[in-house]
Structure formats: C-alpha cells, structure tokens
C-alpha cells in the first residue's frame, strides 16, 4: 500500500508519538515514516501539529517550556530523545518560516556552523562557502559580495542563504518549516526547485500550508488535523484518492 516506503528505506520514523505542551496535547498517537532521499510534505490547517512534529524531529521543541512526550522518534534507527540534541541537529538541519540570517556577512553566515563544530582551514571555508551557496542556487548572485551584510539581501535570497547555511553542515535530513510562506512567487519557485534538487542528497521534510506546493515538491504527503495524523501516502495517490473523508474535505477546500 505505501509504495514509496517499499522503494526507499525509512530515514525518519515516528512511532506512537504523543506530545503535550503543559496540559495541551499537541500531537496524538502519531506514527509516520519519512523515506530516505525523498521529499515528505506535512499539510493541514494552522494548529494541526505539523510544525510541532517537525520541531520534534530535531528536538527544537525542547526550547519550549513544559514539553512532555511519549512514544519514539528515530533517525536511522537511533532514538532522538536518547542523544545530545546538539549532536542530533548536526545531522538534522532546519530552515525556518521567516528567513533568519544572522546580522553578519554572507560568508560568516554560511561558515557559522562549521566554525563552531570543526577545525577547518581558511581555504576549506572558502570552498565550503562556494559549494553551499552554489547548491542553494545563490552563488552567482552573491559571489562578489561575500563580505556584505546578509541583512542587505532580499527575502528570497535570505531564505536561500539560510538553506546554504543549513547544508554547509552536511545534514542528512533537512527540515523546512513553511519555508516559502514569507516569500514572493518567484522566490517560492526557486526554493521549491531547490527542495527537489536537495532531496537527491538529503531527506527533505517540509511543512506547508500550500497544497499546490505539496503536490509540486513532495513524494510523500501526510495530512494532519487537530494533532492527529489523518492519513499519509504517496502524494499523487493522497491527492487523487484520499481515503479519509476529512482529507477529501480539506483538499477540496471545504474547510481549513
């Protein structure tokens, strides 16, 4: 039934996960796998828990107060709650809803992670900056301005810089939390194209409000509602033949 999972091994697996913020249960018994080297999209109306689940995968949810969970989340079979979150985040990178480059030069932004984690020489950093920016499709636009302030870039450029900054760490999984919701249509197109390309080397997991975006970029799609996973499956199948009435209602625009 889940054909993608048969072709590609599950990189990330969520198993019977419940999560509470204080007394509020944000995730209810979620079980879902994200296949390696594919784009998995999580869709659903606001407050359905999709961003919370995404933030659980690299334990950014730890930053909130009074968070409690039951069940397991594994990356490559290793429980994420059993490892140092800082080590986990080297392997599981993240791009946020609003572009958040640091107030420093473009190059310093890309090199921020590597400088903190490895002893690297200047030549390596130059090379790393170029490869990362090239892969994020930003190199040609900024190659002469690497020492310029990153905050001077346009919103779309800033978001691609954030992608370059994340992939400079060489993560195996890349989480994207509504990465295009603050961008104009042209920048959105560029970032979507980038997601497809990046899925060749990384497992990409994207949260999106935009169902068209989910159909354009994702291989697998999961629909969430009120903290529950309603259904998940290969994207074309989910959109063409939703099994659950609620999915059908959402996809046809009857609510949300």
């Amino acid at each position: 039934m889940d054909t993608i999972d048969e072709e590609a091994a599950a990189k990330v697996a969520v198993d019977h996960l419940d999560l509470w913020y204080g007394d509020f249960q944000a995730l209810k018994d979620i079980s879902l796998t994200m296949p390696e080297g594919k784009v998995t999209a999580m869709i659903g109306p606001s407050g359905c828990g999709k961003s919370t689940l995404l933030r659980t995968l690299n334990r950014m949810c730890d930053l909130a107060e009074a968070v409690r969970h039951e069940g397991s989340v594994t990356v490559d079979g290793t429980d994420v709650f059993g490892v140092d979150p800082n080590e986990l985040r080297l392997k599981v990178g993240m791009v946020f809803q609003h572009p958040n480059p640091f107030p420093m030069s473009i190059k310093d932004n890309v090199c921020y992670g590597p400088r903190r984690h490895a002893e690297v020489s200047h030549a390596d950093l130059d090379e790393l900056t170029e490869t990362s920016l090239r892969r994020a499709g930003l190199w040609d636009e900024v190659k002469d301005d690497l020492s310029h302030d990153a905050l001077g870039l346009s919103g779309g450029q800033q978001q691609r810089l954030c992608i370059a900054r994340a992939i400079a760490m060489g993560p195996e999984v890349l989480l994207m939390d509504e990465p295009t919701s603050a961008l104009d249509p042209i920048s959105t197109g560029m970032v979507e194209e980038l997601m497809r390309e990046l899925s060749r080397d990384h497992t990409v997991i994207v949260v999106t409000h935009n169902m068209q975006q989910a159909t354009r970029v994702s291989d697998k799609c999961a629909f969430f509602l009120l903290g529950e996973l309603v259904e998940a499956g290969p994207t074309p199948e989910l959109f063409a033949h939703p099994k659950d009435k609620r999915t059908e209602d959402y996809l046809t625009g009857r609510f949300g």
Binding site: E87, R89, P103, Y112, G113, C162
Partner: protein
C-alpha cells in the same frame, strides 16, 4: 471654544513650550561658554596651560605672573574614575543581563529588574555616604593609605552606574530577535555558543550605547565622588592616593569664589570642559545608534 481658536491656541501653547526649551538650552550653552572662555579671552591664560598644566592653585601666580590653573590633574582624575568604574561595572552588568535574559527570564522580569530600578532611584549622596563608611574604610584597611582616592571613587561609581548599564544591557539582549537564537540552535550550537556568537554579537551596538550612557553618568557624577576621592588636585600617582575630578573641584570651589575673579572664570572653564565631554559622549551614542539602525534596517 470655537474650533479655529482651539486650533490656534493648541499651536501657540505647544509651540511656546518648544521655544522655551530651545531658548533654555541655547542660553545655557552660551552662558557656560562665555564664562568659560573668559578665562582665555580676558584673564590672559593660554588654553594649553589650562589643559596641560599640572599644577592647580588659582590663588598663586606662576613665573609669568599668571595664576596657576593647570586642569590636567582633574582631567586625568575624571577619565581615570570613568574608565575604571566602567571596567568594574561592565562585566557584571553584561553577565547579569545574560543570566536574566537567556537563563532565567521569569526571575529577571519579576525580581531582578524591579530590584535594579530601585537602585537607579537612590540619591547619589546615599551612595557617597555608603562609600565613605564602607568602601573607603575597606580600602584603608588593606592598603595602608587614607583610603581616599581613585580606587574608592571608582568602586562607588561602579555601583552607581551598574543599574543603568545592567538595565540597558538587559534591553539590548532582549531585543535580539528570537529567530537568531533558533537559527543558531538549529545548527547544533549550544546555549553559550549561541549567546557568544549570535546574541552578544548582534547586540554589540546597543551594548556600547549602554556602556557610554554609563560612562556619561560616571563622568558627570560629583557629590558621591567628592565624598570619597580625597580632593587633592594633583596628578594621581596611584589609585590609592587622594585625587580630584573636574566635578569634585567644581562643587568644592564654586560657592567660595566671587563672580568675575580669575578663579571663578577657571571653574567655568572646567564646566565648559565637562559639557563638551558630555556632548562628545552623546555624539558617539548617536553615531552607534545610526549604524545599528542601518544594520537592522
């Protein structure tokens, strides 16, 4: 009241307020400047002798028959206490700001910040009194000196500027966007890596403003300093010997000298110097503020 009269009345009243403030500031500057410059214009004292002369004794004439009014001891004293007090206060201010913003925000909001604001309101004479009975006594107890001097003055000043600098540092760190921190955490950085490389770095312009505002306060404080510095107008040879600052000499001397005498004019010159320094500090703050605004533009 008819509508058009209300309009005119409002314009007149608010306009008059602005005019009054402007006139006040201008008169103040002109008055201090005219008296301060009289030393050089009317009393025939060279600017160089005033700024670089090392002997302060306006009642005595030097070899050329001019009063000896070298202000360098006080200039040195003022800068010494300002810089030393900042060096003492700044690490404590930034350290506690980091703790209450990054580590325990709830405690910071509910307990620490109200406490700090309480400290700002304490009159300087109280600080001076405590300085006199505690700091001077403490310095005396281990140094073998009188206890009066730049070190004691700097410690008292450090305590006085600490609330201002801490409070402004807290604001500076709190205004660093949360997205920067998340971005750093998402790259596998620890809390202290994030604080050091992102939070402090992006807050640097505001932290510098906080520092300079603290320095401005330290530079201009007179009463508490005068109580603990020893008031001896000589170039400070050590941190433990009595010294004096521009402000302490002013408060000590102003009441005793008749208007129009050379001594009185020279005191005005000291006031002019103080005012000029304050303007420089404010200018620096504006320069930093301008740069910060461009960065976050």
């Amino acid at each position: 009241m008819p509508k058009h009269r209300l309009e005119r009345c409002g314009l007149t009243v608010t306009g008059a307020c602005v005019a009054l403030v402007t006139v006040l500031v201008v008169t103040l500057i002109v008055m201090v400047a005219s008296h301060g410059l009289a030393t050089f214009a009317n009393d025939g004292i060279a600017v160089g002798d005033f700024l670089l002369g090392t002997t302060w004794n306006p009642h005595q004439a030097d070899a050329n028959g001019n009063p000896t009014v070298g202000a360098l001891p006080m200039i040195c004293g003022s800068f010494a206490v300002t810089i030393l007090s900042t060096v003492i206060a700044l690490p404590i201010a930034i350290g506690s700001a980091i703790f209450v913003v990054e580590v325990a925000p709830g405690f910071g909001r509910r307990v620490f910040q109200p406490l700090i604001e309480l400290l700002v309101g304490i009159p300087s004479v109280v600080y001076g009194l405590i300085g006199l009975s505690v700091v001077v006594a403490w310095t005396r107890s281990w140094s073998g000196s009188t206890g009066y001097g730049i070190l004691s003055a700097s410690i008292v000043l450090a305590v006085m500027v600490l609330p201002t600098v801490t409070s402004l540092s807290i604001d500076a760190l709190a205004s660093v966007p949360h997205e920067y921190r998340e971005g750093s955490y998402a790259l596998g950085c620890t809390r202290w890596q994030t604080i050091w490389n992102v939070v402090l770095r992006s807050a640097t312009p505001s932290l510098m403003t906080a520092t300079i505002l603290g320095m401005t306060r330290a530079f201009g404080e007179s009463l508490a300093v005068q109580m603990v510095i020893g008031n001896s107008a000589q170039i400070p040879g050590s941190l433990l010997t009595p010294a004096s600052t521009l402000t302490s000499v002013l408060t000590m001397g102003m009441g005793n000298e008749a208007m129009g005498t050379v001594y009185n004019d020279v005191l005005w010159s000291l006031a002019l110097l103080l005012m000029a320094m304050s303007l420089v500090f404010i200018l620096i703050i504006h320069l930093i503020g301008g740069r910060g605004a461009v960065r976050h533009g």
